[in-house]
Amino acid sequence: MTEFNPKIVAFCCDQSGYPAADMAGALKRKLPKEVEIVRVPCAGRIETIYLIKALERGADGVLIFACYEDNCQFLRGNLRVKGRLSYAHRMMERVGLEKERLEICHLATNQGVRLAEILHQKVEQLKKLGPNPVRQKK
C-alpha cells in the first residue's frame, strides 16, 4: 500500500502568507510534498465556494494563511474570510467532514518557519484523519 500523502490547498494572502511561503523557501525549510499554494491579493478574495470546492474536488485539507487580525492591508479582508470560514465549517459539519480539514492561520510576512511548521502539523493531523471521504475514487 502506498503511503497517504495528504493534499493541502494553501490560500496565501499576498501581504502575509505568500511572502512567508517564499521565506520558508529562502530559509530552505522543506515543505510537505502535496501542497498547492494559491496566491491571492488579500484573504478577502477567497470565496466561500473555493473552500467548499477545494474539498469537493478532493483536497484533504484547506488552509488560509492570512494577516493578523487588525492588520489587514484592506482593513477587513481577513475578517470577512473568517466569516466565510465559519459558513464553510457549518456546511462541513452537515456534510460530515471534520472541521480540522479547514483552518485559518494568521501570519506575518517573516514567519516562514511558522508556515512550514503549520503545514507539517496539518499533514500529520490529516494523516490521522485519513483521506477526504468525499474524494471521488478514480
Binding site: 493534499k7 490547498v9 505568500y18 511572502p19 511561503a21 517564499d22 521565506m23 520558508a24 523557501g25 529562502a26 530552505k28 525549510r29 522543506k30 515543505l31 510534498k33 498547492e36 499554494i37 494559491v38 496566491r39 491571492v40 491579493p41 488579500c42 478577502g44 478574495r45 477567497i46 470565496e47 466561500t48 465556494i49 473555493y50 470546492k53 477545494a54 474536488r57 478532493g58 483536497a59 492591508q73 484592506f74 482593513l75 477587513r76 479582508g77 470577512r80 474570510v81 466565510r84 512550514a116
Partner: protein, 561 residues
C-alpha cells in the same frame, strides 16, 4: 493560439544547470510555448533590453518567467510594462526557486513541484486577457476641510506649487485653536487671504460629496444657506480636535483656567506682569495629567507657557504632573531652560487637592518626584491661578463628515489612516488625505510635519496632470447586479457606489428626477486596489477581478474538475 516565451532566470547560478535543462525540456511540451531563453539576472537593465529584442524577433505575446519570488520581479515588471509592447498582465512568474527547489527534500520532488508551478503559470497567461491601462485627468484643484494651522499650512504649500485651493472653514475666520498660540499664524492667514490661488469659505459646511479621486464634487453650504458645488481632484481633512472639561465644584472657580484659556490671557497681557481683575498674578500652578495621561500636548504647552510666565511676566510657576513628556524636537532643551529659570516641577500619584484660601487656591499634593529639592512632600502651593488640562476628543462633526466623505473613523472616533505605519496621511479612500489632530491630538510641530507630508503627496499626485491606472480591478456586471448594497458597504476603500443611470429606461413612467433612479453598483477603477473582497461577497456573482478570475484560482488549486 497564444505564443508564449519562456524566460529562465538562472538567478546567478542558484538554479542548477541540470535542473534548468529539465525545465526547458518540460516547457517545450506545451504547444503554446514557442521559445525558451535563459538570463542570468532578469532584474538587470541590459537583460530587459535583451528581452525587448526577443519579443520583437520571436514574436511572442505572453511571457512566463521561471525564477524566484514574483515579489522580486514586481519592480522590473513596472519597467517591462513601460518598455515592452506587451500587456503587463500577460506575464506570469513561476517561482521555481523558493517554491520548488528550496522547499523540496530531493531533486525529484523539486522537479515535480516545478512542473506543477510552471503549468499553472502557463495556464495563467493563457487565460488572461490583456488588461488596458487608462488614465485619469487630474486638474490642480484641492479642497481642504478645516482652516486651522494644518489646513493653512497645506494650502500655502499647494498654492506655491500652482494648485488651486479651496478652504472650507466652519468658523467665521481662519486659524482654529492655534490662532491664540502662534502669533506668526496671523501673517500666514494674511498670506492665505492674499493668495489668488486660495479661496476661503468661512462659516461653511460640507454637505455632500460625490465622485472619486480626480473628480470629487463637493457641495458646500454657505452661511446664507446658499449651496455651491466645487470640483476637486483631491481633498484634505484637517479639521483638528475638540477639547473640553467638565467644570464642577472648585474647578468652576474663576481662578482655575484651562491651558487654552491661559494662552488667551497671556496673549492679552501687556507690560511686565500678568494681571487678573487688576491684581498682579504671582503664583501660577499647572495641574496636568488629570484627564489626559498619555498625551504630551499638555506637558509641552505648560513648559512653553511657564517659560514666558517665569521669564517675562514675573510669575513663579509650578508644574504638577504624573510624568514630564518632552519627546518632541527641542523640548528637552526647553524643559531644562524652564528648570534653570526656576520653574518648579512636582510629581504626584494621588490627585492633588484644591481648596480656596482667601480668594486664592491652595493646591496640596504629595510630591513623589525622586529629584532632590527643598520642597518635600507634602507640598502646599498657594496659587493665584491654577491652569488645568482638558480632555481631547474628535470634533463633534467627525461622524457626520466620515459619512459624507465615506472615510473610516477609528475606534476612538478620530479619522483613521489607511495604514498607521506606512500611509499615515492617507485615508482609506484614494485622493482623500488626513492630517493633524483630526487623526489624534498631536503637538503642533509634529502635526506640521504631517501637513508637509500631505502637501508632498498631493503635489506629486497632481503634478503629472494624469493618474494612470489599469483595469486590473473589480468590475461589476450591471446586468447581474441585484442592487443589494453588499459591495458599497464592504469596500474598504469606498471605491464602489451605486450608479444612478438616469437614462436607463427600465420603467415606463417618465422620470421627474433622473438622479433618483439607481442602476447598478459601479467600481471606480482608479480608486480600487483590487483586493477582491467585493468579488467574494457578491451574492449575485456579478463582480469579477479581471486578472484573477475564479477559473484561474481553481486552476491554481490544481485539483482537476
Amino acid at each position: 493560439m497564444p505564443r508564449i516565451g519562456i524566460l529562465i532566470d538562472t538567478l546567478q547560478g542558484s538554479v542548477p544547470a541540470s535542473f534548468q535543462e529539465k525545465l526547458s525540456a518540460y516547457v517545450k511540451e506545451f504547444p503554446e510555448v514557442i521559445v525558451c531563453f535563459k538570463e542570468d539576472d532578469l532584474n538587470s537593465s541590459d537583460a530587459i533590453s535583451r528581452i525587448n529584442r526577443y519579443v520583437e524577433s520571436e514574436g511572442f505575446d505572453r511571457v512566463v518567467i521561471l525564477g524566484g519570488s514574483p515579489k522580486d520581479y514586481e519592480i522590473s515588471f513596472q519597467k517591462l510594462k513601460l518598455s515592452l509592447p506587451l500587456n503587463p498582465y500577460l506575464f506570469s512568474v513561476a517561482n521555481i526557486r523558493e517554491q520548488a527547489l528550496w522547499i523540496s527534500s530531493d531533486e525529484e520532488m523539486a522537479l515535480e513541484r516545478a512542473k506543477i508551478i510552471i503549468s499553472k503559470a502557463i495556464h495563467t497567461v493563457n487565460s488572461t486577457k490583456p488588461i488596458p491601462t487608462q488614465s485619469l485627468t487630474l486638474n490642480p484643484e484641492v479642497l481642504i476641510l478645516g482652516g486651522g494651522l494644518i489646513g493653512i499650512s497645506i494650502a500655502l504649500d499647494l498654492a506655491h506649487a500652482g494648485i488651486r485651493v479651496f478652504i472650507i472653514e466652519k468658523e467665521d475666520r481662519l486659524g482654529g485653536k492655534a490662532q491664540k498660540v502662534f502669533k506668526w499664524l496671523e501673517e500666514k492667514i494674511d498670506e492665505v487671504e492674499k493668495n489668488p490661488k486660495i479661496t476661503v469659505l468661512t462659516q461653511a459646511r460640507l454637505k455632500r460629496v460625490v465622485g472619486h479621486l480626480g473628480r470629487f464634487e463637493a457641495t458646500i453650504e454657505c452661511p446664507d444657506r446658499k449651496e455651491i458645488t466645487l470640483a476637486a481632484s483631491a481633498m484634505v481633512v484637517s479639521t483638528g480636535y475638540a477639547s473640553y472639561r467638565e467644570r464642577k465644584g472648585i474647578y468652576a472657580h474663576k481662578r482655575v483656567v484651562a491651558i487654552e484659556e491661559m494662552e488667551k490671557i497671556m496673549a492679552e497681557a501687556s507690560g511686565p506682569s500678568l494681571l487678573k481683575e487688576g491684581k498682579k498674578i504671582e503664583m501660577v500652578t499647572y495641574l496636568l495629567d488629570e484627564v489626559n495621561e498619555d498625551i504630551k500636548i499638555d506637558s509641552i504647552s505648560a513648559i512653553r507657557q511657564s517659560l514666558i510666565l517665569q521669564d517675562l511676566l514675573g510669575c513663579q510657576v509650578a508644574v504638577l504632573c504624573k510624568d514630564i513628556k518632552v519627546s518632541s524636537n527641542g523640548m528637552e532643551r526647553l524643559y531644562r531652560r524652564a528648570r534653570e529659570k526656576g520653574v518648579l516641577f512636582f510629581k504626584y500619584d494621588d490627585p492633588p487637592r484644591l481648596s480656596i484660601v482667601d480668594g486664592q487656591i491652595e493646591v496640596d499634593l504629595k510630591d513623589t518626584s525622586p529629584i532632590q529639592k527643598k520642597e518635600r512632600w507634602p507640598v502646599s502651593i498657594l496659587s493665584d491661578l491654577v491652569v488645568i488640562g482638558e480632555s481631547f476628543g474628535p470634533i463633534p462633526e467627525a461622524e457626520e463628515l466620515s459619512k459624507v466623505l465615506k472615510i473610516h473613523l477609528g475606534p476612538r472616533g478620530y479619522f483613521m489612516e489607511d495604514n498607521p505605519q506606512l500611509l499615515r496621511v492617507r485615508s482609506n479612500r484614494k485622493g482623500i488625505f488626513i492630517a493633524g489632530a483630526c487623526r489624534f491630538p498631536q503637538e503642533a510641530s509634529e502635526a506640521l510635519i504631517e501637513a508637509r507630508a500631505v502637501s508632498q503627496e498631493i503635489i506629486t499626485l497632481l503634478s503629472k496632470g494624469t493618474y494612470p491606472y489599469d483595469l486590473a480591478v473589480a468590475e461589476v456586471d450591471p446586468k447581474k447586479c441585484a442592487l443589494c448594497y453588499t459591495c458599497p458597504r464592504l469596500c474598504p476603500h469606498s471605491a464602489i457606489t451605486i450608479e444612478k443611470y438616469g437614462d436607463r429606461n427600465v420603467y415606463t413612467t417618465p422620470m421627474t428626477n433622473k438622479e433618483m433612479k439607481w442602476g447598478a453598483a459601479k467600481v471606480d477603477p482608479a480608486s480600487c486596489y483590487g483586493c477582491g473582497i467585493c468579488v467574494a461577497e457578491c451574492p449575485a456573482k456579478a463582480i469579477t477581478l479581471q486578472h484573477l478570475t475564479s477559473e484561474q484560482i481553481y486552476a491554481q488549486m490544481n485539483l482537476g474538475e
